[in-house]
């Protein structure tokens, strides 16, 4: 019999930590899908390295969420035994890898935010989150550098790489607004100094990301309409497929170890 989903008591802090953990797990899983398929061996390793950085972040965050929740859940249960509607990640991060340009654009848009976010979170009044931030910031800084270099080379590379990178920006731009969203749950944590107000990061993000995009001879879409829903469990059709693969072993053979 397939393992049933767990229930989670989503206090504000548990929910807040799970959202960031889900971001890291889902993007890390997407990057792991490139393993053995990247355009060149060197980039295969680079993508796997970034995926492993994110998986490490996810594990620390899930463990902390389990501690805060104080019930029988642990990092594995959070990852393997929640269904689509219980996942709280950004919609951007569950979007399929597509071609290499699309993966790099997704990474660039997110890492540009994550780097600012983790740097700011080093000052969190929550000591555990501040410690996780200090470690994650170094990783996200490298992810940003690596993806920025590729943005410029893809955008300012060949006609084909330019076309693919531009198509990815056009498609993914509408998912970037969600990174700066704040709901009532997070407002209280921001006021308590536990969380960072993502809106305060936006001016900086908007002063760096478009710079790289224009250096890459690419353009930002004019559209201001933004997708929402990931933080409250309303996902695109892609996350279910991702989770069915990610969770298949534990769902089919509950508690299996090897």
């Amino acid at each position: 019999m397939a393992a049933a989903s767990i229930t989670v008591s989503e206090t504000p802090l548990v929910l807040y930590v799970l959202r960031r953990a889900d971001d890291a797990l889902i993007l890390g899983h997407r990057l792991s899908e490139w393993c053995g398929h990247a355009p060149m061996l060197e980039e295969d390793m680079a993508l796997a390295n970034m995926g492993l950085d994110l998986l490490g972040q996810a594990r620390e965050l899930y463990s902390y969420a389990a501690n805060v929740e104080g019930r029988a859940n642990d990092e594995d249960k959070f990852a393997y035994l929640r269904d689509v509607r219980q996942y709280r990640n950004l919609l951007l991060l569950e979007q399929p890898n597509g071609d290499f340009a699309r993966t790099m654009v997704r990474q660039f848009l997110y890492s540009g935010f994550a780097d600012l976010y983790w740097r700011a979170m080093m000052k969190s009044s929550d000591a555990t989150l501040a410690a996780i931030a200090a470690k994650s910031e170094k990783e996200s800084a490298y992810h940003l550098r690596h993806s920025s270099e590729w943005m410029v080379r893809l955008g300012d590379g060949t006609e084909e790489s330019h076309r693919r990178a531009q198509a990815a920006i056009n498609d993914l731009w509408a998912f970037t607004g969600e990174m700066f969203e704040v709901d009532r749950t997070e407002r209280a944590l921001i006021e308590a100094g536990v969380a960072v107000d993502p809106a305060s990061l936006r001016p900086h993000w908007l002063s760096t990301v478009p710079g790289v995009i224009s250096e890459a001879t690419l353009t930002l879409p004019n559209s201001e309409w933004m997708q929402q829903g990931g933080r409250s469990g309303r996902h695109s059709e892609h996350l279910g497929h991702l989770l069915s693969e990610l969770q298949s072993m534990q769902r089919t053979f509950p508690g299996v170890t090897w």
């Binding site: 060149m40 060197e42 550098r145 080379r153």
Partner: protein, 95 residues
């Protein structure tokens, strides 16, 4: 493998302060910046290094293997050039 857009680079890693950079291998990359990042991702995953050099393989001038008799054999008979007749104090560390 023919990769006109991604030439070969030689990678050198310094594992600790005070040691020399050591050749660890090679990789393909489009330019020096990406070569440095690829070297980081491929050759320092297990904490092997504190510093990386990448050099275009084409920039290396190598000795000709067919000339190894002339190049290297004359040194083989000069054992007096080896510093094995001295005791090196431990405090000297790596030489």
């Amino acid at each position: 493998m023919h990769t006109p857009n991604t030439p070969l680079w030689e990678v050198f890693i310094r594992s600790r302060n005070g040691l020399a950079h050591k050749h660890v291998g090679s990789l393909h990359a489009a330019d020096a910046t990406l070569a440095l990042q690829a070297a980081r991702d491929i050759y320092t995953r297990r904490g092997e290094g504190l510093s990386i050099w990448v050099v275009p393989s084409a920039a290396i001038t190598a000795s000709d293997p067919s000339e190894k008799g002339m190049m290297f054999e004359p040194a083989e008979s000069k054992i007096y050039r080896h510093p094995t007749f001295y005791d090196v104090p431990e405090e000297v560390g790596h030489m």
